[in-house]
Amino acid sequence: MSTTSGHGQGSDPSKAVLWAESDHEHDIISTRLLGFWLYMLSDSLIFAALFTAYEVLTYNTSIAGGPTPAEVASPIRAYIETIVLLTSVLAFGLSMIALKRDRPRMVMAWMAVSALIGIGFLGMEWTELAGLAARGSTPQRSGYLSIFFTLIAVHGIHIAIGLLWMGVMLAQVARSGLTALVVYRMANLKIFWLYQALIWTFVFTFVYLRGSV
């Protein structure tokens, strides 16, 4: 963030400089990152709404004689998915380390590793939902299954968008190198990708583990 100083003006408020007259100190990367961070916080309200709906749709009335959370959500499988997603996050972190060291090829290599592992995670989410549907546990079966499918699918859509974004950034790093625009987009993507692991922590705990308690 840009800083405006009145610190050198002593304690006399009538002489304090409250803001800079020009924007030459303006830090464009920090400002854009804060804007994207605020967007991600608003995205967290979507997940808050979904987790709330999940909570109120796990009563017996919403299970409606269909499969229970313990039968639908496997904690072991979910923990394997957790390992896969966090490994993808770690690989993206190593890509950011390469970015810090100004090594564009390593940035691309680690981001590609992160994307490949992310595709694996998305595949696991897809096969889980497809397997449930194949056994007749479709979203239309009960209110509980509706919110289970919705929550996992919304998370999966976020993952898919992140993967698409990684593809775009791979092309941009290859084409333009580590320009200011590319670097701040990478920093935004880091926030986006790490945020998916953050949300997954709650999905794992309150959907998969909670269902087996």
């Binding site: 970015l99 200011a180 087996s212």
Partner: protein, 118 residues
Amino acid sequence: MGIDNLKPWEHPEIKGASEVQYISGYALSLALLGLSLLLVRAHAGTTVVLVSLISFISILTVIAQLILLFHLDFSESQRWNTLTLMLNVPLLILSVGLTSFMFHTLYTHVMLPAMTVR
């Protein structure tokens, strides 16, 4: 830090990246969530105790991720991100908590009692 800086990777947001923090964030997250899994698999405690424990562990995991992976702190480059998150969290707790409470009360008073027991 000016707009004409020729080395964008030297921005504090990028320079804050650290292998040690990424690897410890990864290991700590997996260890904490693995602990939750073990507690649930072992049925270690009553429902209330178990739900409280895994909820507490999930919050610990998220805090670990925010510090070690997102590098949130009160430094000049991060303080606004940290503050906006701190202001956002009460909104999330209120929206999830109050709605859950309302529906729990609604089910208890309106629906057939036998249908509402989980």
